[in-house]
Amino acid sequence: MTATQLAMPQAITRPARPPGVTSAAGQVALRALRKYFRTPSLLVMGIVQSAMFLFSFRYVFGGAIHAGSTSYVDFLVPSYVATIVLFTGGGIAVAVAEDKVQGFTDRLLSLPVPRYSLVLGRTLADSATNMWSIVTTAAFGFLFGFRLLGIWQDGLAALGLCALYAVVFTVVFIVMGLFAPNAQAAQGMSLIAFVFAFISSAYVPATSMPGWLQPFSKYQPITPMVDAVRSLLVGSTSDVGLALAWSAVLIAVFTPIAVIRYRR
């Protein structure tokens, strides 16, 4: 080894101060987004999965489900778009668990970054990819026969509420990933979301369920959340307050858990 190689490069200085929250969260988010968009299987699988489920509901089960006065496609698509993150969000839990197992989280935690910037960055990135699935899923909805009954502003409001849910569910899946010992376990844990998605008014009218199941369907967050999206589409705001309240509660509960759990 020559003498020139032995010197610590002059160009490496010590930063004057640790990074701010925005800059740190930005880097964490940028990396998560790069990983997502540079891994074709993640990108394509999300789209294929959401289209396949929608296709099955719409054309396979749909004929056997009676949604009252509305056609099933108009009943299904708004709630399907609202809950799509519950199907695709397993990927978030898996990614978080992988980072932990593979040492990436350790690397981040050993750096002088504000601890909550890790959750913030991750949430920003995953909410963005979730928005991407929401928009593509909505597009499939129109392709499979969904039509807006009200004005386009109502549609936009409904989409905005779905975007809020994307953030809410992202935080929940991050927490799952942080508690899972490995990626497979994270995948398994994320199936809990299916329970909430299926035993709700999202895909069938809640009144069609047996009496003993209806209370669960009625009092869990997904039912008012999807009902609020349906309301907005017809220009009503019923259930919107309850949906916003549930969103606030979920964020308020899961965000601190994520921050504390990351810090460990």
Binding site: I12, P18, S110
Partner: protein
């Protein structure tokens, strides 16, 4: 507590552990560990698997909170002044923690930003590390395509972009082929020569031999010996008779003779050709062994007296082979566990 001034941080020990204990549920990973390491050196933490090496490194990196006791890094407490400690240390782990879908340069720039660099200085730091670690040719390829050695060097580089005062290397060459190991060793030696303090854990003695000038042996979460390599070798305080046979079939017979003469356990090296035993009697015992081998008509390739290797010291200290230690020689070590 008052934050130490820059001058105090300069003169403070690199590491100071007092009754450092870390428990995970019922498992005690560090059990009252005591250690004072002066700055300006490469310190190797040696120990068998499960000895607590990784836990110690993680505690220094503020990733594990001590259950009790105290740990100072350059005079700063890892719990109360964690943020300051994190600015001082760069961690490279057992698992190369780089993002495979990003290029080497992107990885380095990201880490530099997370250390607090502005965009332009992050770019400069990344470029400097790429030169330093000879990653120029692969810097703009995704790191998922790297060889094991390249990936490990990139991981090492990521720990450097913040200009750390202390570099933590947790088993830096585990799982690497010999060529890649050399690459990492060269890089570490270069950094040490430029004045970066380095703490590395390893269970390879040759690695400690190659890189470190100070060694701490830990077992069951305690320090069982510290010292320079020379001091550790002297801790056995005796010579070793080393016999090389061309026919591995003769090793057992040679071993019996060594044990009879030295009254110590003989060890057959992994190559099957070298048989060794600690010889308290030195040259006299060597002569006796030569006589016995001659009487038994055992032809040997080589025979000689030498200082014990670090391997032998290590095995003696961790109690894997049965050699009674000479109290005077053992006293040369600062024995951490028997305060």
């Amino acid at each position: 507590m008052r934050t130490p001034t820059a001058a105090e941080a300069q003169s403070a020990p690199l590491l100071e552990a007092r009754a450092l204990t870390v428990r995970f549920g019922k498992v005690t990973a560090l059990d009252g560990l005591e250690l004072t390491a002066p700055p300006g050196q490469v310190l190797a933490i040696l120990g068998p698997n499960g000895a607590g090496k990784t836990t110690f490194v993680r505690a220094v990196a503020t990733l594990v909170r001590p259950t009790s006791g105290k740990l100072l890094v350059r005079g700063r407490d890892v719990v109360r002044e964690a943020a300051a400690v994190r600015r001082d240390v760069g961690l490279a782990g057992q698992f190369a923690a780089v993002e495979p879908t990003m290029t080497g340069r992107e990885n380095l720039e990201m880490t530099a930003r997370l250390f607090g660099h502005e965009r332009s200085s992050a770019r400069r730091a990344a470029a400097a590390v790429i030169d330093q670690l000879s990653l120029q040719e692969v810097a703009d390829r995704r790191s998922g395509t790297y060889s094991g050695g390249q990936r490990r060097r990139l991981d090492l580089g990521a720990s450097l972009v913040g200009g750390p005062r202390l570099l933590l290397l947790d088993e830096p060459t585990t799982g690497l082929d010999p060529v890649s190991r050399r690459e990492v060793w060269d890089a570490v030696r270069g950094l040490a020569a430029s004045g970066t303090d380095i703490l590395l854990t390893t269970h390879y003695l040759d690695e400690a031999n190659e890189l470190a000038n100070h060694v701490v042996v830990i077992d069951h979460g305690r320090v069982i010996a510290t010292g320079s390599l020379g001091e550790l070798k002297a801790s056995i305080g005796r010579d070793v008779i080393d016999v090389a046979v061309s026919d591995p079939g003769l090793a057992a017979a040679v071993g019996q003779i060594l044990e009879r003469v030295t009254m110590n356990t003989a060890r057959v090296e992994p190559d099957g050709r070298h048989v060794t035993a600690v010889a308290p009697g030195g040259p006299a015992e060597l002569a006796a062994v030569i006589g016995c081998l001659h009487d038994a008509s055992i032809a040997v390739d080589e025979i000689g007296l030498r200082r014990p290797t670090l391997d032998e010291v290590f095995l003696t200290l961790t109690g894997d082979i049965d050699i009674d230690r000479e109290p005077a020689a053992a006293g040369q070590l600062t024995n951490g566990s028997s305060r």
